[in-house]
Symmetry: C2
Subunit: 120 residues, 2 copies
């Protein structure tokens, strides 16, 4: 916790700086929630696969080496986060991306990753 009782104590020169940038700080909530969703190997794999094609739950589970149940749980989170959408076709439910921005984030992140790899 921050108590601003440190008036006239050492190191109060930067109060202006603190206030200035505190005021300009954007709302973190939404961005944090997006990063939370993407910060999981299974979900990130799903998103990557959905960025190249449409997939049914069964095949997604096979592709990410997990159970249908587990993948379904993850898909629900992705759906409520509005990152993917679904459509039913017979017994199967097909999922696809529902957010152009996510592709940009994925691209940026994997580009980043590639670059880091070279440095080692």
């Amino acid at each position: 916790m921050t108590d601003d009782l440190d008036v006239c104590l050492p190191h109060d020169i930067d109060q202006d700086k603190i206030r200035k940038w505190q005021d300009q700080m954007p709302d973190m909530d939404y961005v944090v929630s997006i990063f939370k969703v993407m910060a999981d190997e299974t979900r990130l794999s799903i998103l990557w696969l959905l960025s190249v094609d449409e997939w049914c739950v069964h095949d997604l589970a096979a592709a990410v080496n997990s159970s249908v149940s587990n993948v379904s749980h993850h898909l629900r989170l992705l759906r409520t986060s509005r990152l993917v959408k679904s459509r039913r076709e017979g017994q199967r439910v097909f999922y696809s991306l529902d957010d152009e921005h996510v592709i940009r984030l994925l691209d940026e992140a994997f580009k980043h990753s590639q670059h880091k790899k070279k440095l080692r």
Copy 2:
């Protein structure tokens, strides 16, 4: 778990698709770790503040409304993830970004956020 014992059972048409994209899937580990680091309000705020200037721990703590101890813990994670670097100046330790890619990720994410806001 996926047992590929479903040979010659319904819905085996897509085995090729599964294998094809499974093989092309990039390594998720590094990207997941970066998203994990960014998926926290305190750390994201710190990163955002560091993207505009250099900060000492004390001021960062004040700016994100947290304790010095807490911020120091977060900074350690950011440091070991190689996203920030530090330099000592007297009693104080100044932190700054150590990864150009992070700025791009931040920009992309907050741009995304801005756009979503308009839609509601």
